[in-house]
């Protein structure tokens, strides 16, 4: 039986359910092995219990600890009928309509078992990479058209090529697991549900650029992911040696700073300093961690690499639209009925995600706004729901896909309040290095307070301030805070009157 150990499932009582199943089975003298898998990402059905039967894995959910005796009475271990029975997990429309490539093992394998990872197709990418020249690995990643999944969507292979060409040694690989954007949790799900895939991706990146040491920088808000990764890194150390790969991984815990998700601030933090951003150039690929050539990629980006090496670049390249190739694990969040992880090729629309998958709002009221791409992403009105989900189409409407997080709000939302929050968040999280961000965010909160108190004459100054922050800030924190502010102002002017 499978009872997720994913943090969201735990928050809904998965540990109590696992305990109840174990007790009930003992009491009945039955032998049941409970695997704490990752989550399938259908969070309104969590805790979602699966039973392996001769006709596939049968799902039950949501299951409460109190339901367990009745479930056993009905024949849970054999996958029999019960009001909570959902049927074969892979036939549930929410999953069957997805195209899971990077998240294809999450929820299926035992994340604590390297053997299970290898039995489900893991390890083959690294095996192939070992027999290739570094330039060949880089070529495969370029050929796949893989772009960074962390938000900036920079071509991964180009970054690797720069680090490969850098002469200095040692070189480093850093996995950016500082998933601080509200509405995003795909990195967390992958680290908790398939941690060896990230490790394999990092080892391949190491072979590609000539790095022998890797860091995973995980935010302190993710203690469960940290525990899973540390166990996996320890288990993988021997495996990497067996593969004759000289690569060691250290898991670093963040300390509650949003800016440390910015790559140069992350390097500062790993080096033991305040998470202040560095001016670029030099690019981290040339002079990064400890001044050495460093590849920094997001978790999902690195986890996409093993399949590209194992199955070939076409598996990624042949999906998607325009310059957005492959699939993206979208995350439905906020006020949404069927919140969860939806991995799809680029190119579908927001509307399909929000209604066909998400089922509209959780409260049953009309959806009024969605924020795509985290706290620095734009708020979009219903008129924009038909925009195709691809980086360029979103850029064209002044928005960004970012890390694929989609936060839904119903019609009770006050958009001027959300705009004020965007500044308040920037004021709280600014690293303080550059003035437009450090001072601008505070002035923004003041302006929003004046505006909300009825002083409509401040809108001109608000736009000026955003313009200064966009053009004068050192990194995306200050420059992109204007996205939620200006999009709220432009699309929902009635809330600013």
């Amino acid at each position: 039986m499978f009872v997720p150990g994913d943090a969201a499932a735990l928050a809904l009582g998965a540990d109590r359910v696992a305990g109840a199943i174990d007790r009930e089975a003992r009491w009945r003298g039955m032998e049941v092995r409970i695997v704490r898998n990752g989550s399938r990402g259908l969070f309104w059905l969590e805790p979602l219990v699966e039973v392996a039967t001769s006709s596939g894995r049968i799902a039950y959910g949501p299951v409460a600890a109190e339901d367990v005796p009745a479930l056993f009475d009905a024949g849970l271990p054999e996958g029999r009928e019960h009001p909570r029975r959902l049927g074969r997990i892979d036939e549930l429309p929410y999953l069957a309509r997805q195209r899971r490539i990077v998240m294809n093992r999450v929820g299926i394998v035992d994340p604590g078992s390297l053997g299970d990872y290898l039995a489900h197709g893991g390890g083959r990418g690294l095996e192939r990479a070992r027999r290739m020249a570094p330039a060949g690995i880089v070529e495969a990643v370029i050929d796949a058209g893989l772009r960074g999944r962390g938000g900036a969507a920079f071509p991964t292979g180009i970054k690797w090529q720069t680090a490969l060409a850098a002469a200095a040694t040692p070189k480093y690989v850093v996995a950016n697991a500082d998933e601080g954007d509200s509405g995003t949790y795909s990195d967390r799900m992958l680290m908790e549900g398939d941690p060896f895939c990230l490790i394999e991706g990092m080892a391949i990146a190491g072979l590609a650029v000539g790095a022998t040491r890797g860091y995973v920088y995980v935010r302190s808000e993710y203690p469960h992911a940290i525990a899973r990764l540390e166990a996996a890194a320890a288990a993988a150390a021997d495996w990497l040696r067996d593969q004759s790969v000289d690569f060691a991984i250290e898991v670093r815990k963040g300390a509650g700073s949003y800016v440390c998700g910015e790559e140069t601030a992350m390097l500062e933090s790993i080096e033991g300093r305040r998470g202040e951003v560095r001016a670029k150039p030099p690019l981290p690929a040339i002079a990064g961690l400890f001044g050495q050539p460093t590849v920094i990629n997001n978790v999902v980006t690195l986890a996409s690499v093993p399949a590209i090496l194992a199955e070939g670049a076409a598996g990624c390249r042949d999906h998607g639209v325009g310059r957005s190739r492959g699939t993206l694990p979208f995350q439905l969040a906020g006020n949404i009925r069927h919140g969860g992880l939806v991995e799809l090729p680029f190119g579908q629309t927001l509307r399909e995600l929000l209604y066909d998958f998400g089922g509209g709002s959780r409260t049953g009221r009309p959806l009024r706004a969605v924020q795509v791409g985290g706290p620095l992403g734009a708020y979009l009105p219903e008129a924009a729901f038909d925009t195709p989900l691809d980086h360029e189409a979103f850029a064209a409407i002044g928005a960004s896909l970012g890390h694929g997080g989609i936060v839904a709000f119903d019609d009770s939302v006050d958009m001027s309040r959300q705009a004020r929050y965007a500044f308040a968040f920037c004021a709280a999280e600014s690293c303080g290095k550059c003035t437009p961000c450090r001072i601008g965010a505070v002035r923004g909160v003041e302006l929003m307070d004046q505006l909300r108190a009825g002083d409509g004459s401040r809108i001109g100054l608000l736009r000026d301030l955003c313009d200064t922050m966009i053009h004068g800030s050192l990194c995306a924190m200050g420059a992109m805070t204007s996205n939620p502010v200006l999009s709220a102002l432009d699309h929902f002017p009635e809330d600013f009157a």
């Binding site: 928050a11 998933e179 509200s182 300390a255 969040a333 959780r362 997080g405 939302v413």
Partner: protein, 156 residues
């Protein structure tokens, strides 16, 4: 009140602990964050009295170490309450009613430390709450928060 003996005993114990933690991570500047995490785990906060010894062990100035401790929200410079309750106040939880939960929590904290956190990655099941970096609670409401507080009161 002047109690030198007690202060001295504390200092010796703390110094030994600190030595062990530094030894575990190495005397390198880049070990600073892992060391601070371990100190906080041992003491519940990062006592100011340790900063000078820590700084000289890593070849840093006390100001540099203080700068790091005060920069990161996770590190606390004073001891926390009996439990630390973090209420997620980021957008996805806001959309699901986090402000009412946070407001309620602030007024009913008692001897607990209640603080906002910006995203626990539980964005599909918010509002989310984390207790002592161990237990997680989804779809929080003011009523459920009161039940959680009662549970914490009964817990050892």
């Amino acid at each position: 009140m002047f109690t030198p003996a007690r202060g001295l005993v504390m200092a010796v114990r703390e110094t030994r602990e600190l030595e062990a933690i530094i030894h575990r991570h190495g005397r390198r500047p880049d070990a600073l964050l892992p060391i601070l995490h371990d100190i906080q785990e041992a003491h519940g906060h990062v006592p100011a009295g340790l900063l000078l010894a820590l700084a000289s062990a890593l070849g840093l100035s006390r100001a540099e170490v203080h700068g790091v401790v005060s920069y990161y929200r996770h590190f606390r410079q004073t001891p926390p309450g009996r439990h630390v309750v973090r209420v997620c106040c980021a957008e996805a939880c806001q959309a699901a009613g986090a402000e009412a939960v946070a407001e309620h929590a602030r007024h009913h904290a008692g001897d607990l430390t209640v603080e906002p956190v910006y995203c626990l990655g539980l964005c599909a099941v918010g509002p989310a709450v984390q207790v002592d970096e161990t237990s997680l609670h989804a779809r929080m409401t003011p009523d459920k928060f009161d039940a959680l507080l009662r549970e914490l009161e009964q817990a050892p």
